[in-house]
Assembly symmetry: C2
Homo-oligomer: 341 residues x 2
């Protein structure tokens, strides 16, 4: 095993608590004692045992971040942001992925890492409201992303309806009249894409001469490039003849552009494309991708801050009303709608 406080105490000829006091920077320690103890600490290379400290304090300093999948760059970039920001506040982030499966999301919400973590940030896909209400766990939970719940938890999400509307309006402003939506969902995950779809509908409705029939809405099974490629193919085969697509996310948009190119259609001349997420990939596509950019840093900050407020804020903060925070977003205009300069 390693060096413990006891070893240091013996060597320095003081009590264990005094060493602990030095380690923790307690005020009332004579400079002489402090120096002597510190010297022994350096000599022996003492490092505090976090496990023991956590046991005693009842807190671990670890928060969990559960995301659908890291393979999606949006989540990877978001994870990056959360880890960095939490590290600055002396919190360690335990990163997990749920594969967007309900059973795994429930597992996390229930807190299967009981008391290893102080709190949890979860980005759900299929989780239902009832799953949250059945939660028998006291660790604070912050929800991330599009889904809206009635359970009493803080929720961080950009205004997806407004974002969807902004994206769609941009396409309409560029003169497009048959704007398709790519990435609607069936089944449980329906609500996830629903908000962006609602934004699309709203923008269409504001534009009298724009087409907005259901034949312009294409569903996908997942959120990856392949799903976008397939959905685009189906849309083209169906004869819906869109002159623009607003995609649920950038990955789907990239897949869609791939299909368009394969079919000999030009982006944006024949079909303009807008994505969502502003992942790094979109910037370097052969036709760079216009996209809605949620402010990831702000989301990360808001999530961690909300969680820590419940953790560190004492009883009144822990019981206070759930907050709904809406970080900002921006429409980044690139070649897939503006064309090559």
């Amino acid at each position: 095993m390693g060096i413990s406080l006891k070893d240091v105490a013996e060597r320095a000829g003081v009590s264990v608590k005094t060493v602990s006091n030095v380690v923790n920077g307690y005020r009332h320690v004579t400079p002489a004692t402090r120096q002597r103890v510190q010297q022994v600490i350096d000599e022996l290379g003492y490092r505090p045992n976090l496990t023991a400290r956590h046991l005693r304090k009842g807190r671990t300093g670890i928060i969990a971040l559960a995301l659908p999948e890291l393979g999606n760059p949006y989540f990877a970039e978001l994870a990056d942001a959360v880890i960095s920001y939490a590290a600055g506040l002396d919190y360690i982030v335990l990163l997990d992925h749920t594969n967007g499966r309900r059973d795994q999301e429930i597992l996390f919400a229930q807190g299967f890492r009981a008391r290893l973590i102080d709190g949890l940030i979860l980005s759900p896909i299929e989780l239902e409201n009832e799953d949250l209400l059945a939660r028998g766990n006291d660790a604070p939970l912050v929800l991330l992303g599009e889904r809206e719940y009635e359970a009493p938890h803080d929720h961080i999400a950009i205004d997806n309806v407004a974002a969807g509307r902004t994206a769609t309006r941009h396409l309409l402003d560029m003169g497009r009249r048959r704007v398709a939506f790519l990435g609607a969902r069936h089944g449980r995950a329906r609500r996830t894409a629903h908000l962006r779809l609602r934004g699309w509908r709203a923008a269409i409705a504001e534009s009298p001469d724009a087409a907005g029939g259901d034949e312009l809405v294409a569903t996908t099974d997942g959120y990856a490039r392949g799903d976008g490629a397939q959905a685009m193919a189906r849309l083209l085969d169906s004869g819906a003849a869109p002159d623009a697509v607003f995609c649920y996310n950038d990955l789907i948009a990239i897949g869609a552009m791939r299909t368009l190119t394969e079919r000999g259609l030009r982006v944006p001349e024949d079909v303009a494309v807008v994505g969502f997420d502003d992942i790094d990939d979109g910037r370097y596509c052969s036709t760079s991708l216009t996209t809605v950019a949620p402010h990831k840093q702000a989301i990360a900050r808001a999530a961690v801050d909300a969680l820590l407020a419940r953790l560190d804020g004492g009883a009144e903060a822990a019981q206070s009303e759930p907050r709904h925070i809406r970080p900002g977003f921006a429409l980044i205009r690139r070649e897939s709608t503006l064309g090559r300069p």
Copy 2:
């Protein structure tokens, strides 16, 4: 606080140890007692406190995985694989990123998460051999990736020289004669790209009529798409006139393709491109990317297995010779060299 063994014990009218025995499936417990205890456990919703267990056992069941950056899909996908595989073995993975900075890598190697983690898997970029030798930490360390060290640690990496040669030879086989290498490095990180560059040289050397001058080697500052785009631009401006490029990784390759398209050059007709990593992006570029695919699952398995062998194998395993494991790779041929079918 939560429910502890003691609470369960009191309620069930048995000793704490008996409850612990039930929880841990200890053999000699009467079915009657077991059932009664189990019932109380379910009733109270008892969950063992991992922190306390870890303190007692001296092990946490947590391993750390330190990667340069999650924003790079290769690492994200790899992390995904490691987390999944470790979870199957009841280990939790703590994911961190070093940004490829030496100071951060040293921090991890030194084990700043002392005794929170049982072992560490590190994918270094700038770390030096001396940093490893100076390591004053007993937790096992497994190294991942191209860099080669003389320090006594297990090392998992595909054969980068062979992979580089395979990729380059593929380009030569397709009739290219001016094959450039994109992504060499200056300074500390030099050695990282060195092996793939060596493979490039080897393949060129085997092909008498192929050009192989230094004007065909372009350095980059990083490993992102932007670096590839810039490097490609510089290469074109320098007049080196390559008819193919082998890129250090897929991101650089994607950036390079972007520049080629901008300059009106066709891929692969004018310039063929090969990447490295087989990230999902490459599959859905408008020109899908030929690439070297390291077997990520195998790498993840090997890394975790090597670490756990040192952890669980007892003293003799912990002291045994460091192993060097070489998972396989494959060349995935796609449009960026074969052309559109």
